[in-house]
C-alpha cells in the first residue's frame, strides 16, 4: 500500500515537473528580423535574410518569420522593433549595430519577447542577447591572398566607421598581408556608411587612381566588386560571395553564415530554453566562411591560405599573434602572445605599419 502511494506520488511529481518544464515551451513561434539595408543588397542584409529563410526551412510549420528592410538606424528603428514586439513576435533579431539602444529600450518594455542584437555589446535586460562573428579571422585569409596577389604592393580598403569591428578587420588583414609581403601598403578610405553603392563605387575608383590593384571592403554592397571587374583589378566578396559581380575580379570572399545561429536560437525559444548570452563565433563554428578560391590564385598560395583557415579552426593559428606593435611603435603583443577578446572588442588603434591616422 505504502509502495503504491509512493509510486503514485512520484508519478504525480514527475508529471508536475514535466509540466513545469514544458510551460515555457511553445508549439509555434513568430520570429521577426529588422534589416538595415534592402534584402537585395547582396551583402550584409542579404545574408541575414538567407538566415531567416533557413529558419523557415529548418523549423517548417513551427515558425512564422517576418522582416522589415531598409530601416534607418535612427528614431524609426525603435518604432519598427516595438511594433514587432507588440504584434505577437516571440523572438526578434535586430541586425545592425545602430539598433543597439532601441533594441534595449524596447526589450525593457516587453520582458516576454526575446531580442537578439547583432554586433552590439549592451544587454541591459535578461531578454537581450548579442551575437557577432569573428570576421577578422576571414581577413587573415584574404589578407594573406591579397599580399601575394598585389603587383603594385598597394591594397585598397573601403571602410565604413572607425569602430572596433572595422579597425580589427583592417589590422588583421594588414598583419596577414605584410607577413607575406613586407612592402605592402594599405590605402584606407572611410565612407561613413554601411550601404551606399554610389559612395562605395567612388571610393573604389579613388583607390584605383592611387595605384591600388586589390580591394577589400567593410561595406555592404557589391559596388566595389563591379568597379574592380571593370578596371581589371582584384577584389574580395564581402558578407556574401558576390561572384556574379566580378567573375574575373573576385579572388575569394568572406561569407557570413547566420543560418545555424538563427536556427539554434529559434529552436531554443520553441523549447523554452532560450537564455541571455553573448556569442562571438568564427570560422570554426561556421559563422564565418571563406568562399572558394579563384583559379587566378597560384596553387601554392591557395594551399597556404587554406592552411591559415585550417589553423584557425584547429586553434593553432590566431589572427593577432605577437610580436605586434601599435602604430605609434609601442609594444602590444610580445613574441608568441595572442590578443585576448577584451582588447579585440575595444580595438581603437592601428597596428604598426599602417599609414594614416585612425579617424577619432
Amino acid at each position: 500500500m505504502n509502495i503504491l502511494k509512493t509510486l503514485m506520488a512520484t508519478a504525480a511529481m514527475a508529471a508536475g515537473l514535466t509540466g513545469a518544464a514544458l510551460a515555457d515551451a511553445k508549439d509555434k513561434i513568430k520570429v521577426g528580423f529588422v534589416y538595415v539595408g534592402p534584402i537585395g543588397d547582396f551583402g550584409w542584409s542579404y545574408e541575414h535574410n538567407e538566415g531567416r529563410l533557413a529558419v523557415e526551412e529548418a523549423l517548417g510549420d513551427k515558425v512564422e518569420t517576418t522582416y522589415v528592410e531598409s530601416v534607418p538606424e535612427g528614431p524609426d528603428a525603435e518604432r519598427v522593433i516595438r511594433q514587432m514586439a507588440q504584434s505577437g513576435h516571440d523572438l526578434i533579431f535586430t541586425t545592425s549595430f545602430g539598433y543597439m539602444n532601441p533594441t534595449n529600450k524596447v526589450a525593457a518594455q516587453f520582458p516576454d519577447v526575446k531580442f537578439e542584437h547583432a554586433t552590439g555589446f549592451k544587454r541591459e535586460t535578461p531578454n537581450v542577447s548579442t551575437y557577432g562573428a569573428r570576421f577578422y579571422e576571414g581577413r587573415s585569409v584574404i589578407g594573406h591572398i591579397a599580399g601575394h596577389m598585389t603587383k603594385t604592393n598597394k591594397i585598397g580598403y573601403i571602410a565604413s566607421f572607425p569602430i572596433p569591428e572595422v579597425v580589427r578587420g583592417i589590422n588583421s588583414a594588414y598583419l596577414a598581408a605584410s607577413a607575406v609581403n613586407p612592402d605592402v601598403e594599405f590605402k584606407i578610405i572611410w565612407v561613413s556608411t554601411w550601404f551606399d553603392p554610389g559612395k562605395e563605387a567612388d571610393a573604389a575608383n579613388a583607390l584605383i587612381e592611387q595605384g591600388v590593384d586589390v580591394i577589400m571592403q567593410h561595406t555592404d554592397s557589391p559596388a566595389a566588386m563591379t568597379i574592380a571587374e571593370e578596371k581589371g583589378i582584384f577584389a574580395f566578396g564581402q558578407a556574401s560571395d558576390m561572384a556574379q559581380f566580378g567573375p574575373n575580379a573576385r579572388l575569394s570572399s568572406i561569407i557570413d553564415d547566420w543560418a545555424p545561429y538563427y536556427i539554434e536560437r529559434s529552436q531554443a525559444v520553441l523549447d523554452g530554453t532560450w537564455a541571455e548570452k553573448d556569442t562571438w563565433h568564427g570560422i570554426k563554428e561556421g559563422m564565418v566562411e571563406i568562399g572558394s578560391f579563384s583559379d587566378k590564385i597560384p596553387a601554392e598560395v591557395q594551399a597556404s591560405a587554406q592552411a591559415i583557415a585550417d589553423g584557425i579552426v584547429a586553434g593553432t593559428v590566431h589572427s593577432f599573434t605577437g610580436p605586434v606593435n601599435k602604430q605609434d611603435g609601442s609594444a602590444w603583443l610580445a613574441e608568441g602572445e595572442t590578443a585576448d577578446d577584451g582588447t579585440l572588442l575595444g580595438m581603437n588603434f592601428y597596428v604598426e605599419g599602417i599609414d594614416g591616422e585612425l579617424p577619432n
Binding site: 521577426g32 534592402p38 534584402i39 517576418t66 522582416y67 522589415v68 528592410e69 531598409s70 530601416v71 534607418p72 538606424e73 535612427g74 528614431p75 524609426d76 525603435e78 518604432r79 519598427v80 516595438r82 511594433q83 514587432m84 507588440q86 504584434s87 549595430f97 545602430g98 539602444n101 518594455q109 555589446f121 566607421f161 572607425p162 569602430i163 572596433p164 579597425v167 561613413s192 572588442l345 575595444g346 581603437n348 579617424p359 577619432n360
Partner: protein, 364 residues
C-alpha cells in the same frame, strides 16, 4: 496633338479638392501595384491607411512622426508663399539638433529645468543661423537660395558625422560615432506614459496656430502673399524684399532647427549620424500637399506620417518590400502635381501650325 492652356480662373473648389483626389488616386494606383505584387490590395490599403488609426501605439507614433514634419512645413510654407525657396530644411534640422544637443551635453548631469528651454533656444538659433547663409548670399550676391540651402544640407550632414566621431563622441562608446545619451533633464518629457509622445508635439501644434494667425490675420502674412503673387505691387506697398527673404528663410530655419532639437532630445535621446531621416525633405511634400496652409499642413503631416507607419507594418505583416512603399509615397506627390496642372491648365487640341501658316501665306 494637345497642349496645355492656362485657365483664366482656376476653380477654387478644385484647388482645395486636389490633395484629397491625389490621396484617393494614390490608393487606387497603390492597390494596383500591390495586387501586381501578389498581395491583397484591399488588405494592403487597410494596413497602411486604416489599421494605424485603431492601434493606440500607432496613433501615438503618428504624433511623433507627424510633429517634425508639421513644424518644418509650417516654416517652409511662409517662404514658399513668398516665392522664396528654402530646400535645405534638412540641413537646418541637423544644425538645430547639433546646437541643441551640444547644449545638453555641455551641461551634462545638471538637473535644472532651464536646460530644455535653453536647448530649444540653441536649436532654433542654430537652424536660424544656418538659414541665414543662403539668405545673406541671396541678398548680397543674388545667389540662388535653392542651390545654396540644398548644398548646405550635405555640409550639415558631414558636420554631424565629424562632431559625433570627434568632440561630441561618447567617451565610453568604444569609438562608435555617437554622443553619450542625454541625461534626464536634457530629455523631453513624455506626455503619455508608455509612448514616445514628447513635449515637442505640443509646440508643433502650437506652431500651426501661430502660423495660421501670422498668415491669415497679420500684416506679415499679407506681405508674404503679396510678395509671392505680385512682387512689384509688394514693392509699391513698401514691402522690403531683402527683409522678406531674411524673415522667410530665418523663420523656416528656426522652426527646422527646433524640430531637429526635439528629435535629438526626444525619440532619439542622443546625437547619432543617422539622426536625420529626411524630415526636412518630406516636409516640402507636406507643405505642398497641405496647400501651404497651416490647417492643410496639419492634415498633410498626419497623412504622410500614416504612410510611413502603415508602410512599416505592411512590410512585416504582409511582406511588402520597402521599395513598394517608397513608390507608393512618391505617387502621392506625383498625383498631387499632376492634378495641380489640370486645375491650372486645361488640355486643348493643338491647331496645326503649318496649316495656319499656309493660310496666312495665301492671304498675303
Amino acid at each position: 496633338m494637345f497642349k496645355f492652356e492656362l485657365r483664366p480662373t482656376p476653380s477654387k473648389t478644385m484647388r482645395a479638392a486636389t490633395p484629397v483626389l491625389a490621396v484617393i488616386a494614390t490608393m487606387i494606383a497603390g492597390a494596383i501595384l500591390f495586387s501586381l505584387l501578389g498581395k491583397n490590395p484591399f488588405e494592403a490599403i487597410r494596413v497602411i491607411f486604416i489599421d494605424p488609426l485603431f492601434d493606440p501605439f500607432s496613433r501615438s507614433e503618428l504624433l511623433v512622426k507627424a510633429s517634425p514634419l508639421i513644424l518644418i512645413a509650417i516654416g517652409l510654407s511662409l517662404g514658399f508663399r513668398a516665392g522664396i525657396w528654402n530646400i535645405g530644411a534638412e540641413g537646418q534640422f541637423i544644425i538645430g539638433a547639433i546646437t541643441g544637443g551640444a547644449m545638453g551635453l555641455a551641461f551634462y548631469g545638471t538637473s535644472g529645468v532651464w536646460l530644455l528651454p535653453l536647448m530649444a533656444l540653441a536649436g532654433a538659433l542654430g537652424g536660424f543661423l544656418w538659414a541665414m547663409i543662403p539668405a545673406i548670399l541671396r541678398i548680397k550676391f543674388n545667389a540662388n537660395e535653392i542651390l545654396v540651402s540644398l548644398m548646405l544640407v550635405y555640409v550639415a550632414t558631414l558636420l554631424l558625422s565629424a562632431l559625433v566621431s570627434g568632440p561630441l563622441r561618447d567617451p565610453d562608446g568604444f569609438n562608435f560615432p555617437e554622443s553619450r545619451t542625454f541625461h534626464d533633464s536634457a530629455t523631453l518629457p513624455i506626455l503619455m506614459a508608455g509612448t514616445r509622445v514628447h513635449a515637442g508635439v505640443l509646440i508643433s501644434l502650437f506652431a500651426v496656430v501661430v502660423g495660421y494667425v501670422l498668415l491669415e490675420r497679420h500684416v506679415f502674412g499679407f506681405h508674404v502673399k503679396l510678395t509671392g503673387s505680385a512682387p512689384k505691387a509688394a514693392n509699391f506697398a513698401g514691402v522690403k524684399q531683402n527683409a522678406m527673404i531674411a524673415a522667410c528663410l530665418g523663420i523656416s530655419g528656426a522652426l527646422a532647427g527646433l524640430a531637429g532639437m526635439f528629435e535629438a532630445s526626444g525619440p532619439v535621446g542622443q546625437l547619432v549620424p543617422s539622426l536625420p531621416v529626411g524630415y526636412g525633405f518630406t516636409a516640402i511634400i507636406v507643405a505642398f500637399l497641405g496647400r501651404l496652409h497651416p490647417i492643410g499642413i496639419l492634415a498633410a503631416g498626419f497623412v504622410m506620417a500614416l504612410t510611413y507607419i502603415g508602410g512599416e507594418t505592411a512590410q512585416f505583416s504582409l511582406g511588402l518590400p520597402a521599395a513598394a512603399i517608397s513608390v507608393f509615397q512618391g505617387m502621392l506627390l506625383f498625383f498631387l502635381l499632376a492634378f495641380d496642372i489640370l486645375v491650372n491648365y486645361r488640355i486643348a487640341p493643338k491647331r496645326r501650325v503649318d496649316a495656319t501658316l499656309k493660310s496666312a501665306e495665301e492671304a498675303s
